[in-house]
Symmetry: C2
Subunit: 300 residues, 2 copies
């Protein structure tokens, strides 16, 4: 597999989407391809879906490293979670080989991580560990790394290793509540309203989300907020809820900047919330971070 | 309307359901009728729906007092919210007359309440104020009154008056998350599992609901909890989230028992959660409470 004709390909294979990164010999990005062949959309035919992807990219020989939900119970092959005692360098050593009928293809899946907190309650990640590996190979930062999304992850790093992480169902709850239930009824015509977002972030301080979400409705029915501000307010509430939860867990959260790795649009919301609360933050471009992770995973 | 042939009828007219209580001359219950003609199901024809109800009950002359969402913007007639400065006795004086073409019918709607908390954030109720009025005419209790439901209400009472209240979207979020999203996928075959419920109540202490809800999923994917325990655990998380939020707001929550006014099945869950957390509670039968409220609203 050290043949120079063998292409190195990284695939971030998630629930809904798939992103492929073709590397050049120096580990730079040669080509990027995204499609909607997430694990829920391939009808269990992972090999067929991969073959198609290789055809699209014009590849025959390939050394492939995959991360994300492709390694979950509902993915191609379940890869056991690593525990927090295993450093991120263990990702490289624990890539799980998947057999395929593709003759000149080597195919491996990165494991996720499982974290059991001090109360014995578990949290899990699949895919984000690869992003953290990449971010840490670009930056020696300590403190909180934030990976926003359907399930936002906050990862606390010390001395180059993950020491805890927490997931928040932020994107999923926003989506559920926009489509169904009480708030969805006023969320038909929505604007992006920075002051409503900011008000939501501030209000998150004043109680649990299951309460503050109802207050969002109360603001509308008492004519204290226009209905078309609801989405921005709800987004602020959900993101504010994350930040206040983290603040409660950390004595000195502002000690070092929060490192945000996410799409520009989503990262912008978190950066705005963090700024409102006086917390320093730095944004990372997720493709650059993923490429850095791939270089670490492919290197011997 | 003081004609002894005029029947006194109370209607708790909510979003999905309608419950009617026909009183005898002494204010006792003569007949109770429930149907699904909630305000969302009558296509705006409130008078026609009321006429049908009167036919069902065999009534021609009636003095009717209604409470609940029938007085909301999407109901029959919007009745302005009372503010917290107005005592519950003001409900009687602020019943809003609704004109109908029914010749021998007097029809009034009780207002709801609006509460603006110390942070300037509003909460609202419509219908529960009537239950609190009833409960207070049966009991001189102080402290928290709890009215569980789609939108659970916690009402703090001092010296026979409401001084604050908070709503939690507990029932709505349980329903949303059971039908849609990540957790719903493992919630197809569910049992009622007291120990999973208790574990959820305890886990609610350890973070915001948007985080603990994801941990519920993590418990399943790490094989630390069977999938069919998910509903009970989620129910415990949501109810525990309410109780911990209330505990944070009150220096001495156990000073007096929590007065629970709800259906037996729902009340049982809250009583179990409160007992787990060492909080005294007392359950009230909601029909008896509503009848007591009607007696207060009909009395001159």
């Amino acid at each position: 597999m050290t043949d120079p004709d063998t292409s190195r390909l990284g695939i971030d294979w998630g629930t809904s989407n798939r992103r492929a990164y073709l590397l050049d010999a120096q580990g730079g990005l040669m080509r990027q391809h995204s499609d909607e062949a997430g694990i829920l959309h391939v009808n269990g035919d992972f090999e067929g879906s991969l073959r198609q992807l290789l055809q699209t990219l014009g590849l025959q020989r390939a050394d492939i490293v995959m991360s994300g939900m492709v390694g979950s119970r509902n993915g191609w092959h379940e890869v056991p979670y690593l525990s927090m005692e295993q450093p991120l360098t263990a990702l490289h050593d624990n890539l799980m080989e998947v057999r395929t009928s593709l003759p000149e293809v080597r195919c491996r899946i990165a494991p996720g991580y499982k974290y059991i907190d001090a109360n014995g309650i578990p949290d899990v990640m699949r895919g984000e560990e690869t992003q953290v590996l990449g971010a840490l190979s670009l930056s020696a930062a300590n403190g909180w790394f934030l990976l926003p999304g359907t399930h936002s992850k906050w990862v606390r790093v010390e001395n180059g290793g993950m020491i805890e992480f927490l997931t928040f169902m932020t994107g999923e709850l926003f989506s559920l509540m926009s489509q169904h239930g009480t708030l969805s009824k006023v969320m038909t015509e929505q604007q992006s309203v920075p002051e409503a977002f900011a008000a939501g972030v501030q209000a998150a301080r004043h109680g649990s989300f299951t309460h503050t979400a109802f207050c969002c409705r109360a603001l509308v029915v008492t004519d204290m907020m226009p209905p078309d501000h609801t989405a921005s307010y709800l987004s602020g509430l959900l993101i504010g809820t994350e930040v206040y939860d983290i603040l409660k867990r950390t004595d000195a959260p502002q000690q070092s900047a929060v490192q945000v790795v996410g799409s520009p649009a989503l990262s912008a919301r978190y950066l705005s919330a963090l700024e409102l609360l006086g917390i320093e933050a730095r944004a990372w471009q997720p493709d650059a971070v993923y490429l850095a992770a791939l270089r670490a995973l492919f290197s011997p």
